[in-house]
């Protein structure tokens, strides 16, 4: 009997675990997930002029993305995300079909095929001294013959063949310490002019042969005032530069080898000039643009000694590059703010007084100021020129403006999310049903019959399409109210530009947005930047009628001791509820597990003087805090000093003004790592909102192990200082990695393990009583993932039922960080194939569901890996009882099951973070991953054991019931007949 039960149990286990992954069918794509593609803040944009590319624009962005966009809708045709250090410096279009990019400080030149984004060739230059790089693509390039691009970078001028990227010739200028500012080739000429500065006071002109790069002429002249390095070319023989103090303009003419200087003070040119000026890198003939603190000036150069201010635009404004309309006609665009609207003007260089075009466009105030503008023209039906402008706003969004309206906008700030949190949606109120009336029973049945056909694979393609449309149309998931399963939420994200956006988890649409810099900009706070978001108020008991709110913490400047600001934003409406200018700086924000009577969460802010400030500043919160103060500790990790310190809090601050909301910190402990052998690489802590269901873990043979569950566990990984760099820089003998588990209250090291021959980058997650970390093993030259599980041995005796019944156990004895823990540690390492960009662990509402690790791989996919694969108790030969427990036999590497990618066939380009949010349904976790793209899905690590899946076939259930009832009646009738026959016998 027992054997049979075992067999049955084994069978059940096999059945349950036969499918490790929460795999997806292709037709389920888009049901629970959404994916949005972004490019980031546009740095440069070029409009192809050739016929085929007329409806596109190619751009490079600050996220190192190059992309081709559809001008009509703003969609991405193709896109490439370059490496993290491969910043794009210059872009251009050559021959009408190649998109040329110069990146990595001018050391890599690539040509891309314009229609499909295929890389055509790549060429690398040796860069000895970092300098500003230049790319010159001759305008009169013709298709038939070989043409050369000129690239100046790192002291070398290279001529590169346009066909295959071969370097035709190169010339070094670094020897003369000549830094070239402009390279150009007059049309129909074989001479290349290279102009630049030597040191800070000498101006130099080089004439080179375009065939061989041979220097034909080299003239140098010095200017006593010195140059600041900025220069703008106004014609083929004249340059305008700024002097070293940035307060005077120097017109330099270098016609036929004779260099003439003429200095003009800016204060003579414009009134009320103060401070410093800068030249804008815009290319016009005969005109240059100059930026001062308050305005942008357009200045015409009539001769060396004659400068004339054409126009002045007050900030915020932006001027576009010149656009060549015909041989002698150039146009440029200006965008300026006029109260809430923006003013877009296009002018021709011949006739600057009257613009060709003047449009006033309504722009969302949540987009901030205009940052950049790019214009392109099209020919209208009446043969006149029409203009459209691509406008980059302060929140990194990109808009196309044409005929006075915004044709499309891309919210590209979402490519640089820095923090996120979630908020529940409002409860559905009675009487105000948001749901549409459920269609009638017949339609419902028809729908299910169709779905049944789909599951049985009997449906025709048309019907499959109908099913798909029905599923995607499902209005349930896009409602603005809370649902029973907790799938519908708001994800509130903060972007690097300082914009707060709320995304609906149903389809990823933006519910509201709020732009902080424009809200907080003032005299005292010139460069406000938002740092983090926290939950401020999550009403559930006491303040049910209030809307939840989030706290945005920011600081007024880039430095650490800049004053901070606070802003509380309503999660439903996106309106700022209140804001506060802080009188201190912000180093660290500690959300406390305490709330006041209005459910506002208490936060401690540590300033640069290591003083703690309590918020919200109410009597109530101080009383609550003082009661708990002896239990509140903080630690700080000083990466540069390789030190970890722990602090406790004390009443009273040494401020001049008495402040009851200010507390002092007292150092309790510190751990100093030997700086010659260890360097802090990564730290990780448990998520503060993580729920642990049970402390006990029942293992094979009815034995119990107690997890060492502590909120204060801190994982620290250090590496050898030599091995702190990239892979390939050290030998295995010089590298090691030390992993520590530290109690953050007492500073006690619970466990320490050294991995020899290992180095970073290290990614770690801590959850419950375990930590998993990913690093590189130099000996095997493979990535490795290690797991450490930590168990409490002092409770190990509490196995006896009688002890529990009679109360002779120590389970209720208080857990204190000060009592010496008696811990047992189990660990194991496995190989993992890929590099990792981010790592997270699933979180569920009650912590019952088994966990999965979410690993963001180098291919920008997110892999779900069962924690059971990272069980330290995995063994080569498993006993019968261990098999029943579900332990997987030991393998040296972790499996990569393609169906286990939660991102399925999509990529979250530039992946940087993965966030898991528990749904109310215990089996389900919401996963939000972000990078350049954003992706959301929900996963069930142990499949949805607590609810029927969406594609559950009700029709099949109905049919089964009908069949069963029919069978019952049939057999009943049969048996009646049989009985009758027997009675007659």
């Amino acid at each position: 009997m027992a054997m049979a039960v075992r067999v049955c149990l084994g069978f059940l286990i096999v059945l349950l675990y036969s499918n490790f992954s929460t795999a997806l069918y292709e037709d389920q794509v888009g049901l629970a997930d959404w994916h949005q593609k972004y490019i980031g803040k546009v740095k440069q944009a070029v409009f192809p002029t050739q016929k085929s590319g007329r409806r596109r624009v190619v751009v490079s962005t600050e996220e190192n993305v190059i992309a081709s966009l559809d001008l009509r809708r703003g969609d991405i045709f193709w896109r490439h995300v370059l490496g993290k250090d491969d910043h794009v410096d210059q872009i251009d279009i050559a021959l009408g079909k190649y998109f040329i990019t110069l990146s990595s400080e001018g050391s890599i030149l690539r040509a891309w095929n314009l229609p499909d984004g295929q890389m055509m060739w790549e060429s690398a230059f040796y860069v000895s001294t970092p300098s500003k790089s230049l790319l010159y693509v001759p305008a009169n390039i013709n298709l038939g013959k070989e043409n050369w691009f000129l690239v100046f970078s790192g002291g070398w001028l290279h001529a590169v063949s346009s066909i295959d990227g071969e370097i035709v010739w190169k010339k070094e200028f670094a020897i003369d310490s000549l830094e070239i500012k402009q390279v150009f080739q007059p049309p129909e000429s074989d001479i290349i002019y290279a102009v630049g500065f030597v040191g800070s006071s000498q101006f130099s002109v080089c004439e080179l042969s375009s065939k061989s790069g041979e220097v034909l002429k080299h003239n140098t002249a010095s200017f006593p005032g010195g140059f600041c390095g900025e220069a703008s070319l106004v014609s083929s023989d004249m340059l305008v530069a700024l002097d070293a103090t940035r307060s005077a303009l120097i017109a330099i003419s270098f016609q036929s080898g004779i260099i003439n200087f003429h200095q003009t003070y800016i204060s003579d040119l414009v009134q009320d000039f103060s401070g410093m000026a800068a030249l804008l890198p815009v290319k016009f003939t005969g005109i240059f643009a100059m930026k001062t603190v308050s305005s942008i000036y357009l200045v015409r150069v009539k001769g060396v000694s004659e400068l004339e201010v054409l126009e002045k635009f007050n900030h915020p404004a932006s001027v576009s590059d010149a656009l060549t309309l015909s041989e002698e006609q150039q146009a440029f665009g200006i965008v300026q703010h006029v109260e809430t609207k923006i003013d877009f003007r296009v002018k021709l260089d011949k006739d600057l007084r009257n613009g060709v075009l003047k449009e006033t466009i309504e722009m969302d105030p949540q987009r901030g100021h205009v940052q950049k503008v790019f214009i392109s023209n099209y020919v209208r039906t009446d043969k006149s020129h029409g203009f459209r402008a691509l406008i980059v706003m302060e929140d990194h969004s990109l808009s196309l403006v044409q005929q006075g309206v915004v044709v499309w906008s891309r919210e590209d700030g979402l490519a640089s999310i820095i923090d996120s949190t979630t908020s529940e949606l409002p409860v559905e109120k009675e009487g105000v049903s948001v749901a549409e009336v459920e269609h009638n029973l017949f339609e419902w049945l028809k729908g299910h019959a169709l779905k049944l056909k789909g599951t049985l694979l009997l449906a025709s393609p048309d019907e499959i399409a109908a099913i798909q449309a029905m599923r995607l149309k499902n209005s349930e998931r896009n409602k603005m109210t809370r649902d029973h399963n907790g799938f519908r939420k708001l994800i509130i994200v903060l972007t690097r530009a300082g914009k707060l956006l709320a995304l609906h988890t149903g389809d990823g649409r933006i519910i509201w947005s709020l732009f902080f810099p424009s809200l907080h900009r003032s005299e005292a706070c010139e460069h406000p930047s938002a740092l983090n978001i926290y939950q401020w108020q999550v009403p559930h008991h006491h303040a049910m009628h209030e809307n939840p709110s989030v706290l945005v913490v920011g600081r007024c400047g880039p430095s650490h001791d800049a004053l901070g600001f606070f802003s509380v934003v309503d999660s439903y409406t996106g309106k700022e509820r209140n804001s506060l200018k802080l009188a201190h700086s912000i180093i660290q924000v500690i959300p406390l597990p305490l709330t006041d009577s209005t459910e506002q969460r208490l936060h401690l802010i540590i300033d640069a003087n290591l003083q703690a400030h309590l918020y919200p500043r109410t009597r109530d919160s101080v009383n609550i805090f003082l009661r708990e103060m002896s239990n509140i500790y903080r630690h700080s990790i000083e990466v540069g000093k390789d030190m970890i310190r722990g602090y406790s809090l004390q009443s009273g601050c040494n401020l001049d003004v008495a402040d009851e909301y200010c507390f002092n910190t007292k150092e309790l402990w510190s751990i100093v790592f030997p700086s010659e052998s260890e360097k802090i690489a990564t730290t990780a802590t448990r998520k503060i909102n993580e729920v642990v269901h049970t402390q006990a873990k029942v293992i094979a043979d009815q034995d119990v192990m107690y997890k060492y569950v502590s909120r204060n566990i801190l994982f620290v990984a250090t590496v050898a200082p030599k091995a702190a760099g990239e892979i390939g820089s050290v030998t295995p003998e010089e590298a090691w990695l030390v992993a520590y588990l530290i109690d953050a209250v007492t500073g006690r090291i619970l466990h320490r393990v050294t991995h020899h021959g290992a180095q970073g980058p290290i990614h770690a997650v801590v959850s419950e009583n375990w930590v998993v970390y990913h690093y590189f093993n130099l000996r095997a030259h493979r990535y490795e993932m290690s797991v450490i599980e930590i168990y409490d041995r002092s409770r190990a005796d509490n196995k006896d039922v009688w002890k529990l019944v009679l109360g002779k156990h120590n389970l209720t004895s208080p857990v204190s960080s000060y009592s010496r823990p008696d811990v047992m540690v189990k660990s194991q390492s496995y190989f993992f194939t890929h590099s990792v960009k981010a790592m997270a662990v699933t979180a569920t509402a009650k912590g019952i569901t088994s966990k999965q690790l979410l690993i963001g791989t180098i291919g920008d996919q997110v892999l779900a890996l069962d924690k059971r694969f990272l069980d330290p108790r995995r063994n080569v030969t498993l006993t019968q009882s261990e098999k029943e427990e579900g332990i997987i036999p030991l393998t040296d590497s972790l499996p990569i099951i393609p169906q286990a990618y939660v991102t399925h066939a999509l990529q979250v380009e530039g992946l940087r973070g993965i966030v898991t949010i528990p749904a109310r349904l215990e089996s389900t976790t919401l996963v939000f991953s972000y990078g350049v793209d954003i992706f959301f899905t929900r996963i069930a690590p142990s499949r949805t054991y607590d609810s029927l899946t969406e594609d559950f076939s009700y029709a099949l259930l109905l049919i089964t019931i009908v069949a069963l009832v029919a069978a019952i009646f049939a057999t009943w009738i049969l048996s009646e007949k049989k009985e009758l026959r027997e009675k007659w016998r």
Partner: protein
């Protein structure tokens, strides 16, 4: 067998040939070397291949230190790579590539060795081929009676069928005397309901 293959691997590792010099060489005045290779996707594919896929394939050096893209002919190169042991990964949607260990010797300039880290296979030429194709979606099983029977509904029906047709067979094996007694006992209990009648009657 295992030992045998291990020996072969060791042998290969010992005598791993120097890759053709075309693979690498000092480039320009810099102190680095060039790693040039070829990614083969066409050979492995069975489902046809769109140019879009290839243009989105990346080759990654040392876990993201540098990223390059494939040219139309599948070639890629990294320039100015210092001597040392490096790791190359290929990211192409739909394919699983093994990372490649690249050793650039500092003593013998230009001597480069390459090996797959997943199966330790030594590459004589830096031609990277996917180990396998990746299928990200579960494939819907074509309609079959088995799948229907395996579903909970199918199991319910199956169980019922089992009870209806197999139980009487079991009953038949019972002692007829005992059977009669049991039936009488049942009758003695009074008017039976349909549910407890059914199995008795059907026998």
């Amino acid at each position: 067998m295992m030992r045998r293959s291990a020996e072969i691997i060791a042998f290969l590792l010992l005598f791993s040939c120097v890759l053709p010099s075309a693979l690498a060489g000092p480039s320009g005045p810099g102190d680095g070397y060039t790693i040039a290779g070829h990614v083969k996707l066409e050979g492995a594919t069975s489902k046809g291949f769109t140019p879009m896929e290839k243009s989105n394939s990346k080759v990654i050096l040392n876990g993201g230190q540098r990223v390059t893209f494939l040219r139309a002919d599948g070639y890629f190169s990294f320039h100015n790579v210092p001597a040392g042991t490096h790791l190359i990964e290929v990211s192409a949607m739909g394919y699983f590539f093994s990372p490649v260990r690249i050793d650039i010797s500092s003593r013998n300039p230009g001597k480069i060795q390459a090996a797959l880290t997943e199966n330790r296979r030594v590459l004589h030429e830096l031609v990277l081929e996917p180990l396998r194709e990746e299928q990200y979606y579960e494939i819907r099983e074509p309609f079959s009676l088995m799948s229907l029977l395996k579903s909970p509904m199918g199991l319910m029906v199956g169980f019922m069928v089992l009870v209806v047709f197999l139980m009487p067979k079991l009953m038949e094996n019972m002692d007829p005397e005992e059977m009669r007694r049991a039936q009488e006992e049942m009758r003695a209990q009074g008017v039976p309901s349909l549910s407890n009648l059914l199995p008795g009657r059907s026998s």
